[in-house]
C-alpha cells in the first residue's frame, strides 16, 4: 500500500486542517487577550470558518470543473463527494451561528474563555471526518473528536450544577454508545477483513441475508448510531443534556451534532449495510415511529423550553429516519432538505432562547416568553416563524422537509407510516402553539432586559431569512439537495 502524502490528500483535508489550526491558534492567542476582550476569540473563530468555507468552496468547484463525482484522499480513507460537501456546509453554517450567539451569552454566564471557541472548531473538525470519512477508523475518530468536544462544552458552565450533571450523563451514555458502535465496527471488520466501507459492502452483500454475524453487526452499529441521533429507545440522554448545557451549545448540539450523526448513519446504512435492507428496514421503521411518538407526546407536558425543544428535536430525528426507511431518491433528497431546513429553524428557535437569557433570568422557562409580543414584537414574530416551520406549516421551510418525507413514504407504499407521520404534525402543532400562546396572549412578565447582541440579531436574521426563503422559493435549495448529493451513496 502506498502511504505517500500527495497534494490531493492535502486538498481533501484542507478544511479539517484549517479548522484544527485555528482551533489551536485560539488557544494560544487567548493568553494574550485581556479578560474583557474575549470577543476577539469569536472573531478569530469566524475568520477560521471563513477560510474553511473557502476551502470547501474550492473543493466543490474543483469537483464541478472537472466533472468528478468524488475525490478520494488518504488512500481511500476520506472521500469528498456531493454528500460530504453538503454536510460540510451545514456544519459550517451551524458553527458560525453558534459563534455568533455565544459571546454575549458567555459574558452573562461569566464563562467567556477562549477554549470555548477552540472546542467549537475541534468539534467541527470531527464532523468533517464524519461527513467525508469512508473508512471505519477515520469515522470513529471523527465521531470521538466531536463527542469529546461536546462533553466538555455541555459542562462548560462550571458553576452550574445542571450543566455539570448534564455533562456527566452525556459523557457516560455517550461513551457507552461509542463502545457499542466500536463493537459493531469490529464485527464489520471481522466479516470483511477491511475497514473500507466499499469493501465491507461487498463482503456483506456476498453473505446470506439472514446471516447472524451481519445481524449482530447491524444491531450493535444501529444501536450506537441511534444513541447519537437520540432515537427512541436510546434518547434518554438528550433532554437532560439539552437542558443542562449552555443554551448556545444546546443549539449547536441539536443541529450540528445531529446532522453529523446522520451523516455517519447514512454512510453506514447506505453503503455497507444497504444489501441487508430487508433486515433493518422494519427495525428502522419501528424506531422512527417510536421516536416520533415519544418525542411528540413527551414534548406536550414540558414547561422548560429547552426540554420541549429537546423532545421536539427527538421527533424530528424520527421524521428524518423515515426518509431512510423509504430509501428511494425522494427519501434521501428529503433527508438532505430536512437536515438543511432543520438546521436553520431549530437554530433560530434556540437562538431565541439564548436571547431570553438576561442578567437576572435564566430564560429557559416557557413563561419567560410571556407577552413577548408586547416587549419585542419582532422577536415574537420571528419565533412564531420558527415554530411554524418546526411544526411544518407552509409556506415555511419546515413544510418542505416534511413534504419530501411524506412523498417518499407514499412512493414506497409505507402508507401506515405516512398516516402516523402526518398525524403527528397536528400533535406537534399543539405544543409549539403553547409557546405561541404564551408569547402572544399572556400578559408580559417582568423579566428584565432581553440580552440580545449584534451577533444574536445576525443569527436570527440569517436563520429566519432562510426559514422563510426556503419555504417560499425553494428551487435553488432543492437543486443543492438533488443532483450529485446522494448519487455518491448509490
Amino acid at each position: 500500500m502506498n502511504f505517500e502524502f500527495s497534494a490531493t490528500d492535502f486538498f481533501v483535508l484542507k478544511p479539517a486542517v484549517l479548522l484544527c489550526l485555528f482551533g489551536c491558534g485560539i488557544l494560544i492567542t487567548d493568553f494574550f487577550i485581556d479578560a474583557r476582550q474575549k470577543v476577539f476569540n469569536a472573531f478569530t473563530a469566524l475568520l477560521g470558518l471563513g477560510f474553511t468555507g473557502y476551502a470547501v468552496w474550492q473543493q466543490q468547484s474543483y469537483l464541478k470543473a472537472n466533472g468528478l463525482n468524488e475525490l478520494i484522499g488518504l488512500s481511500g480513507a476520506v472521500t469528498i463527494d456531493g454528500f460530504a460537501i453538503f454536510f460540510q456546509w451545514v456544519f459550517l453554517i451551524s458553527t458560525a451561528l453558534a459563534v455568533l450567539i455565544s459571546a454575549r451569552y458567555l459574558e452573562i454566564e461569566r464563562e467567556h474563555h477562549g477554549e470555548y471557541y477552540s472546542l467549537l472548531l475541534f468539534a467541527q473538525t470531527g464532523m468533517v471526518f464524519l461527513a467525508c470519512g469512508t473508512e471505519l477508523v477515520t469515522l470513529f475518530i471523527g465521531l470521538e473528536l466531536m463527542a469529546l468536544s461536546f462533553y466538555v462544552m455541555v459542562g462548560f458552565l462550571r458553576g452550574d450544577r445542571r450543566s455539570n450533571e448534564a455533562a456527566v450523563k452525556y459523557l457516560l451514555l455517550g461513551a457507552f454508545s461509542s463502545g457499542l458502535l466500536a463493537y459493531g465496527f469490529s464485527i464489520l471488520y471481522g466479516i470483511s477483513g477491511s475497514t473500507r466501507l466499499s469493501e465491507i459492502a461487498a463482503a456483506v452483500a456476498s453473505r446470506e441475508p439472514r446471516d447472524p454475524m451481519v445481524f449482530l453487526a447491524l444491531a450493535t452499529t444501529a444501536a450506537g448510531l441511534f444513541f447519537k441521533i437520540a432515537a427512541v429507545p436510546f434518547h434518554m440522554w438528550a433532554p437532560d443534556a439539552y437542558e443542562g448545557a449552555p443554551t448556545t451549545i444546546t443549539a449547536y448540539l441539536s443541529v450540528a451534532s445531529k446532522a453529523a450523526s446522520f451523516a455517519l448513519l447514512l454512510r453506514i446504512f447506505q453503503v455497507p449495510l444497504e444489501s441487508a435492507r430487508a433486515t433493518w428496514e422494519p427495525m428502522v421503521a419501528l424506531v422512527a415511529l417510536l421516536t416520533m411518538t415519544l418525542g411528540n407526546f413527551a414534548a406536550i407536558s414540558q414547561t422548560n423550553i429547552k426540554r420541549l425543544l429537546a423532545y421536539s428535536s427527538i421527533s424530528h430525528a424520527g421524521y428524518i429516519l423515515l426518509g431512510l426507511v423509504s430509501g428511494n431518491q425522494t427519501g434521501l433528497q428529503g433527508i438532505a432538505v430536512y437536515i438543511l431546513v432543520y438546521a436553520f429553524m431549530n437554530f433560530g428557535a434556540f437562538t431565541m432562547v439564548v436571547a431570553m437569557r438576561g442578567q437576572e433570568v435564566t430564560g429557559d422557562d416557557i413563561d419567560d416568553m410571556a407577552g413577548l409580543v408586547f416587549r419585542r414584537p419582532t422577536y415574537a414574530f420571528l419565533m412564531l416563524l420558527f415554530l411554524l416551520s418546526l411544526a411544518g406549516i407552509p409556506p415555511t421551510a419546515g413544510f418542505l422537509g416534511k413534504y419530501y418525507i411524506f412523498l417518499s413514504l407514499i412512493q414506497t407504499r409505507h402508507y401506515y407510516l405516512a398516516v402516523f407521520a402526518v398525524l403527528y404534525v397536528a400533535v406537534s402543532a399543539y405544543y409549539y402553539f403553547r409557546i405561541v400562546k404564551v408569547m402572544f396572549v399572556s400578559q408580559p412578565a417582568e423579566r428584565g432586559e432581553i440580552a440580545d447582541s449584534f451577533g444574536v440579531k445576525v443569527a436570527l436574521g440569517v436563520t429566519a431569512g432562510f426559514t422563510l426563503l426556503i419555504g417560499v422559493y425553494p428551487e435553488p435549495f432543492l437543486r443543492l439537495a438533488q443532483g450529485s448529493l446522494f448519487a455518491a451513496l448509490r
Partner: protein, 527 residues
Amino acid sequence: MEQHLLSVILFIPLAGMFILLLIPKDQKTLIKIWANLVMLFGFLASLPLWWRYDRNNADFQLVERADWIPSIGARYHLGLDGISLLLVLLTTLVGLVSVLSSWSAIEERLKEYYAFFMLLQTGMLGVFLSLDFFLFYVFWEVMLVPMYFIIGVWGGPRKLYAAIKFFLYTLFGSVLMLLGILALYFHHYTQFGTYTFDVTELMRMNIPPTLQMWVFWAFFVGFAIKVPMFPFHTWLPDAHTEAPTAGSVILAGVLLKMGTYGFVRFSLPLLPDAASDSRTVQVIAWLSIIAIVYGALVSLMQKDWKKLVAYSSVSHLGFCTLGIIALNPNGLAGSVLQQINHGLSTGLLFLIVGIAYERRHTREIAEYGGLSNVMPVYALIFGISMLASAGMPLLNGFVGEFTILQGAFEVSKTWAAFSVAGIVLGAAYLLWLFQRTMFGPITNPKNEKLLDLNARELAYTLPLVACCFWIGIYPKPYFEILEKPVAKIVKRIQPDYYRARGLKDPLPEAARAADPAPAARRAAAAP
C-alpha cells in the same frame, strides 16, 4: 395588469399588510382607514370579474401560469370558473364588511389585528383561485395561522380553547388531505412519467377505483372538518362563539365554504367514480341530513344568541353538502348558490349579534327583549336577514334551498322529506329568536337607552341586505354563471346525464372534445 387580474386581486391584501406594518402602532385611526381602504380596493378590483367572466365558456378563465418550484412540478397557476368567481366575490365583499364592522369593536392591538385580517384574506382568495394543488395547500394552511390569532387574541372568554381547537382540528384534516394530494401526484407520475400538481393535468388520469376511494376519504376528512359536516362539527360552535364579530363573519361567511368548495372543485371532478359510488353517496347524504336536522334542533335549545347562529350554520351547510352529493345540476348549482347565500345571511346575523354585543356586552338571549321599540332599523335589518336565513321566498335562502331540494328530490324522495324538516325547524328557531329579542315590551331596563344603527353600521349591513334581495328576486345571472361549470362536473360523473333525461346539453360536443377525459376514463374503467 389586465392579464394579471387574478394575481392583483389575490395580492392586494398581502401588499396592504406589508404597508400596514410600516405604520406606527399608535396611529390608530390611520391604521383603521388604511385597512378599510385596502379591503375596498380588493373588493373593487374583484368587481370587473363579474363582467370579464365569459358565461359561455366552461373552461378556467383569466388563467395565469408561472414556474414556481420546477423540480417538484409545483406551479403558480391561478384560474377562475363560475364557482370560484362567486366565492371570490363573496370573499372580497365579506372581507370588506367585516373589516368595516371592526372599526369600534376592536380597540386593542389594532395593527396586528388588521395585519392578520389581510393575511387571512389573501389565504382565502388563494384557496379559491389556485389550480395547482401545492399552491392550494399552501394557501389552505396559511389561513389557519391568522385565524388562530384572530380568535385567540381578540376573542371571548374561552378564546384560547376555541382557537387551538379550531387550529388542531383543521390541521388534522388538512394533513390527511395532503397525503391524498401526494398519492394523486405520485399516481400521475406512474401513469405519465411526470410530476405535476396541476389540477387540470391531474384530471386526465385514469385512477383505479381503490385509489380513488382512499384519496376521496382522505380529502373527505380535510374538507368535512372545514365545512364542518356532522361528526366533525364540534369545533365550530366554540370557534364561532368565541371569535370577535368580524372573525365569526369571516368564519361563517367564507372559511366554511372552503370545505364545500373543495368537494366541488377537487373531490367530484378528480375522483368521479369514488364520488358516485352508492356507499359514498349514502354516507355523505345521511351525514348531511343529520347535520340539517341536528343543527336545527340544537339551535332551538340555545340560550346564547351567537351560539344559536353558529349551530344554524351546521344546519345550513348540511344543505350545501346534500346538494353536492346529489350529483346533479340542480343540486350542485343550488349548493354553490346556497354557499353564497349562507355567507350573506349568516354573515349578516353575526353582524347583528355583534352590534347588540357592542352595546350591551352580553349574548344571553334572555337579557334582550323588545329591542324593536328602541332600535327599529336594527330590528328591520335583523328581520330581513333572519327571513333570508329561514328561506323565505323573495329572499336568497329560498332560492338556494329550493334548488337543492329539487336536486335531492330527483335522487331520493326520502332525502328531500327529511331535509324539509330542517327548513321548518330553521324557521322555528329563527322566528323564536326574533320574537324573544325584538318583540314584546322592554323587560330589561338596560335596553331602554340603546341607540339604533349608525351610518357605519348601516353601511356594512345594507350591501349584504341588497344582495339578499337581488338573489332572492332575480337569481338568473347567478345560475347563468354556474350553468357551464356545474354541467362540466356533472358530465364528468354522469356523462350521459343530459342525454338520458332528454335535456338540452349545456356543453355540446365541441366543448367536450377539448376535454376527452371522461370518455377515455370510462373506456379504461370498462374492462
